[in-house]
Symmetry: C2
Subunit: 136 residues, 2 copies
Amino acid sequence: MNLIFYNIMSLTSREEDYLEAIYLLTGRHVAVGLTDVARELGVTLPTVKSAVTRLKERGLVDQKHYGKIVLNPMGHKIGAEIYRAHRALRVFLNEILRVPLEISETEACLMEHAISKDTLKKLECFVHDYQTRDNG
Amino acid sequence: MNLIFYNIMSLTSREEDYLEAIYLLTGRHVAVGLTDVARELGVTLPTVKSAVTRLKERGLVDQKHYGKIVLNPMGHKIGAEIYRAHRALRVFLNEILRVPLEISETEACLMEHAISKDTLKKLECFVHDYQTRDNG
DNA sequence: ATAGAATATTAGATTCATCTAACTTTGTCA
DNA sequence: TGACAAAGTTAGATGAATCTAATATTCTAT
């Protein structure tokens, strides 16, 4: 079911970042505006605007004129998945490699786009197993 | 000693890829041409040309008109370091997470740019320790 | 209800990374 | 030694991602 989408829909890292940011903000806010995303990612409003326009063209988000940003089901799914990779990587870096939290955060954010579904699953298992049998 | 350079010299992922490719080819060939790099990275000649031009402007490589590509000391150092990160990540993915080699190769190549010197050192230690006490 | 603040939009520029097509130089071998 | 192949160069286009500056809309609080 995803194969069809995945081929058409190979997103850039940056598109994934925007999707992830919107996903996270959606979990905290009632409504997500361009300004929220801009703050979250440290970019300017027009930059967010053009990213959202591109995501809109791909059918991953909706935004009415002067309106809030809403994730479509596929956008939500991708955002959630990117965040899952982000979290697994951050935990691996921070709790297993003992990289400081801030740095783990930053580097996880850069690595999260590189990791496939299969690898993510393996990483999650590894992290889980490692934690349950008290290593380190 | 590196701080000065590192600030001026924040390379894009792609610039790092080219440097790494040239570094690897240098270890195999006598002389590295644009065509070798193009083959290695799967891009066209003009693309390599413009990348090399940019790396030349940064003083990381040299190339005379119609000549071969030569890494300058700093370029060599960066290329070697990127490759070190690449290797550590590939080994982690392949030998510890049991991700198939081809996929480990690809994903390491994407992650290698995200990882700082400190994190790399930690990852290398982790991989080493993991391997010496026969886990899995 | 409206003025001022906050937010969103548009226009236009820049840089990187890529491509194709056309051209030039170098190198080789018959 | 000169024709042809291989390698390198240049020109020009495209798209993503970013910015600043200017403009438009919406919200809010008096």
